[in-house]
C-alpha cells in the first residue's frame, strides 16, 4: 500500500507508532518540535517498577524508528492541518506541506507547573524541587540541597497538580504515586543516612509490580508513609523547609522540618497538543486531554476521521500502556486506510 502517514510527536507513543507503521509498509513523516526525539524519556534516569535504565527503552525506540520509510523532522512544529476529501495537508513550520492519508497525534503530556501550587513555594523556597528536578539529580549523580550539601531528611508530596480543583485538575495522574515510591527508594540508595517521608492521600499502586515496590520501600528501605495532603511549606531562617500536614489516620496536625521537599508533579495536556487541537479542529475533553470517540473501545479515535490519537495526549499512562496504545493506534490506522482504499476501488 503506497500511503503516507504523518505522526505528530516523537516521544514514546509517536516513535512506537511511526516504527510500527513503517514495518507495515507505510511512508511515515515523524514530526518533533524539539531538536531530538525521545520526549520526556530523555529526562528520566530509572523507570518504575523494575528500576531499569530509561536509556534501554530509548534505545529500543531509536532502533525501531531507524527505518528508511520514516522521515524524521526535528525542530519542526505544525502550522496548519487542512482536510480535503480523504487527504490531510499538514503544513509544518519549515513551510513544507505534507500530504497524509492519515495522521497520528502523539503530542504527549506536559508536567504540571509546580509553581502554580503557590503554597508549596516552588521557585521561591530554595530547597523545594520537583520530581523532574530530582530525576535530573539522579542523572547527574548529585543529590544536593541549595547549599551543595546532601539532604538528610526529605519529604515527598504526592498529588501536586492532580486531584485538585484549585488548579483545575480533577483527575488522578496515576503515575506519581509509583514515581514517589521509586524516587524514595533511589534517594535511600544514594543517601543511606537519609530519612524519607511520603505524604499521600491514597496510595494508587495500580500497575503490575507497583504494590510490590511499595512494600519493598517499607520493608527494605524504611520509608515512612504519612496519610495527609501537605497544606503548606515555608522556609525557616536556616533554609530548611517546614511543612504542615494532618496525620489523618490519627486525626492530629503534624509539623516537620525537612532539608528537601520534592513535589510529585502531575501530568497535563501538553501545550503542543492544545495547539494541534486548535489547528486541526480536534475536540478536547473535560480534563483538557484529547477527547476520545469511545472510552472503552475507541480510545484511539478522535472526532475527525483519519486523525488518530496515541499515548498520553488522551490520558495519563505509563510507558507500557503508552506503547500498547500506540500499537493500537497503528491497528486503527491500518483498518481505516484499508476501508478508504476499498471505498475508492469499490
Amino acid at each position: 500500500m503506497n500511503k503516507n502517514v504523518v505522526v505528530i510527536g516523537a516521544g514514546v507513543a509517536g516513535m512506537e507508532a511511526a516504527g510500527r507503521l513503517a514495518i507495515a509498509g507505510f511512508a511515515v513523516s515523524l514530526i518533533e518540535k524539539q531538536e531530538s526525539q525521545g520526549g520526556h524519556l530523555n529526562n528520566w534516569h530509572q523507570l518504575f517498577p523494575d528500576r531499569r535504565d530509561g536509556k534501554e527503552v530509548s534505545e529500543y525506540l531509536r532502533k525501531l524508528t531507524q527505518n528508511d520509510r520514516i522521515k524524521l523532522h526535528t525542530g519542526t512544529s505544525i502550522e496548519k492541518i487542512n482536510h480535503v476529501k480523504n487527504i490531510y495537508a499538514v503544513t509544518t513550520s519549515s513551510g513544507e506541506v505534507l500530504n497524509a492519508d492519515a495522521v497520528v497525534v502523539a503530542t504527549g503530556f506536559d508536567l504540571f507547573k509546580s509553581s502554580r501550587k503557590e503554597e508549596y513555594g516552588y521557585g521561591i523556597y530554595d530547597n523545594v524541587i520537583t520530581s523532574a528536578d530530582l530525576e535530573g539529580m539522579f542523572q547527574s549523580g548529585k543529590i544536593i540541597m541549595h547549599d551543595g550539601r546532601a539532604p538528610e531528611k526529605i519529604g515527598i508530596v504526592h498529588c501536586v497538580g492532580s486531584r485538585d480543583e484549585k488548579v483545575g485538575n480533577l483527575y488522578c495522574s496515576k503515575l506519581c504515586c509509583v514515581t514517589a515510591v521509586k524516587q524514595a527508594i533511589e534517594l535511600r540508595e544514594y543517601l543511606p543516612a537519609s530519612k524519607v517521608f511520603c505524604f499521600y492521600m491514597d496510595m494508587r499502586m495500580g500497575g503490575s509490580m507497583y504494590e510490590e515496590l511499595y512494600r519493598e520501600a517499607q520493608e527494605k528501605y524504611g520509608i515512612s508513609f504519612i496519610r495527609g495532603k501537605v497544606s503548606e511549606a515555608s522556609e525557616a531562617i536556616n533554609n530548611k523547609i517546614k511543612i504542615k500536614v494532618e496525620d489523618t489516620l490519627v486525626g492530629r496536625p503534624l509539623k516537620m522540618e525537612l532539608d528537601l521537599l520534592v513535589l510529585m508533579a502531575g501530568m497535563e495536556m501538553s501545550e503542543g497538543g492544545k495547539r494541534i487541537a486548535a489547528v486541526a479542529g480536534l475536540k478536547t475533553g473535560e480534563n483538557r486531554f484529547f477527547a476520545v470517540a469511545d472510552q472503552h473501545y475507541g480510545s484511539n479515535n478522535s472526532n475527525l476521521k483519519g486523525i488518530f490519537l496515541a499515548g498520553t495526549c488522551v490520558a495519563p499512562m505509563n510507558i507500557t500502556e503508552t506503547i500498547s496504545h500506540a500499537r493500537a493506534a497503528v491497528s486503527e490506522v491500518i483498518d481505516y486506510l484499508n476501508s478508504t482504499e476499498k471505498q475508492r476501488n469499490g
Binding site: S115, E118, E119, G121, Y122, G123, I124, Y125, D126, E232, S234, E235, A236, I237, K242
Partner: protein, 355 residues
C-alpha cells in the same frame, strides 16, 4: 528565598483599584482602638493626594463581628450590607472602600454569593425594601483601604520625609507583614498578590525603603477568632496563635510588624504585653517588644505626620525606639498630652467634614 518566584506570583494577582471618588465606611474596632489611623487615611487621601473621599453620617457597622460570632444570621448581615450599598448609591458613589478587613471579606463573600445565587440577591433586595424602603446598586469597585494606600504607595514615597531605614547603619528596617485573614484567604483573586504571598503591604514596605521578612508562620491567623477572643474563657487560644507567630518570627529579628486588619494590630500589640506578664518573655531586639503598626500609621510616619497625631500613644508597645531608629522627630512629653494642641487643628476637621 528567590524573590523572582514571588514577583511572578505577585504579577498574577493585580486587582482593579479606582483612581478617585471613594465611598468610605469605617471599622468598629479601628474607631475604638486606632482612631488615629482612620484620621490619617482621610488626611492622606484628601490633603496629600487630593482625592475625593465621602463618608455618610448614617452608615453603621456591617455587623461582621456579630456575623462571625454567629449571633447575626446570614440574611441579616446581607441586608445590613445592602443598606450600606444603598447609602452609597444615594450619595452618587460607586467605589466602595471599607476600613475593616472583616467587612471587606464579608462584602466580597456577599457579592460572590449574589453572583452565584441571584435569587439570594433578590431576597435581600426585598428585605431591604420592606425594612427601609431603600434600593441599592452593587458597587462598581470594591477595594480595601489598604488597597488604596498600596495603589498610591509611589506617590506617598515621592512625598516622604522619612524612609524605613536605620539612620545609624543605613540598613533597611526588617518589616514583617501580617495580612488579615479575610483579606484574601477566601477569595485569593480579590487581594493584591493573592492569598499565599499577599503583596498589598509588602509593596508598601518595599516602596518606602524597608525589607520584607518572610517567616514560616507568616500566614497564620493572629488568633482573634471572634468568639475565641470575645469570650474570656477562650482567650488562651487567641493568645497562643499570636505567640506562635512571635516565636516563628523571632530568629529573623524584625524591627516592626505591619498590619492591614483592625483586630490584628491590637492583638499582636496586647498579646505581647500579656505573654510578658504571664511568661516573662519579651519579643523584639530592644527588650521593649516589637512595635506593631497599621498601614496608615506607617504611611503617616513616612510622610512626616506627628506620631502622637497618629495615635501611637494608644499602643501598649512603645514605639519610640523604632522612631529613634528611623530618626523621626517627636516630642516625648507630648505623648500623653491631652491638651488641645495646635496640632489638633490639623486633624480635627476630619472628624466631621464631608467633602
Amino acid at each position: 528565598m528567590k524573590i523572582d518566584g514571588k514577583r511572578a506570583i505577585w504579577s498574577e494577582y493585580q486587582k482593579d483599584i479606582e483612581e478617585d471618588h471613594y465611598f468610605y465606611v469605617r471599622s468598629c474596632i479601628r474607631q475604638n482602638f486606632f482612631p488615629g489611623s482612620e484620621v490619617a487615611f482621610l488626611r492622606i487621601m484628601r490633603d496629600v493626594l487630593k482625592k475625593d473621599v465621602y463618608e455618610h453620617p448614617c452608615h453603621t457597622t456591617c455587623s461582621g463581628i456579630g456575623y462571625h460570632g454567629d449571633v447575626v444570621p446570614v440574611d441579616t448581615a446581607m441586608t445590613v450590607v445592602a443598606r450600606q450599598f444603598a447609602l452609597m448609591t444615594e450619595a452618587g458613589y460607586k467605589n466602595y472602600v471599607p476600613s475593616c478587613i472583616t467587612s471587606f471579606g464579608l462584602y466580597t463573600e456577599i457579592l460572590e454569593t449574589w453572583h452565584h445565587f441571584p435569587e439570594v440577591e433578590e431576597r435581600v433586595r426585598k428585605h431591604l425594601r420592606n425594612a427601609t424602603g431603600r434600593e441599592f446598586n452593587i458597587p462598581g469597585n470594591l477595594a480595601h483601604a489598604s488597597d488604596i494606600i498600596y495603589k498610591f504607595r509611589k506617590e506617598i514615597a515621592a512625598k516622604a520625609k522619612y524612609t524605613l531605614v536605620n539612620k545609624e547603619t543605613g540598613e533597611p528596617l526588617k518589616v514583617v507583614d501580617h495580612i488579615g485573614c479575610h483579606y484574601s484567604k477566601m477569595f485569593p483573586s480579590k487581594g493584591v498578590g493573592g492569598a499565599e504571598y499577599p503583596y498589598v503591604l509588602a509593596g508598601m514596605i518595599e516602596e518606602w525603603g524597608g525589607e520584607v521578612i518572610d517567616y514560616p508562620e507568616r500566614r497564620h491567623c493572629c488568633g482573634f477568632g471572634f468568639r475565641q477572643y470575645l469570650v474570656q474563657a477562650n482567650r488562651g487560644y487567641s493568645v497562643a496563635c499570636s505567640r506562635e507567630k512571635f516565636e516563628s518570627m523571632k530568629p529573623f529579628k524584625p524591627d516592626m510588624i505591619l498590619t492591614n486588619c483592625p483586630g490584628c494590630p491590637m492583638f499582636l500589640d496586647r498579646w505581647q504585653y500579656v505573654i510578658n506578664e504571664m511568661e516573662g518573655t519579651t519579643y523584639g531586639q530592644n527588650g521593649e517588644g516589637i512595635p506593631v503598626f497599621t498601614y496608615e500609621e506607617l504611611a503617616g510616619l513616612v510622610l512626616g505626620f506627628d506620631p502622637w497625631d497618629l495615635g501611637l500613644q494608644m499602643h501598649q508597645i512603645n514605639v519610640e525606639p523604632l522612631l529613634d531608629k528611623i530618626g523621626i522627630e517627636y516630642s516625648p512629653e507630648k505623648k500623653f498630652s491631652l491638651n488641645t494642641d495646635p496640632a489638633v487643628s490639623k486633624v480635627k476637621h476630619f472628624a466631621k467634614a464631608v467633602y
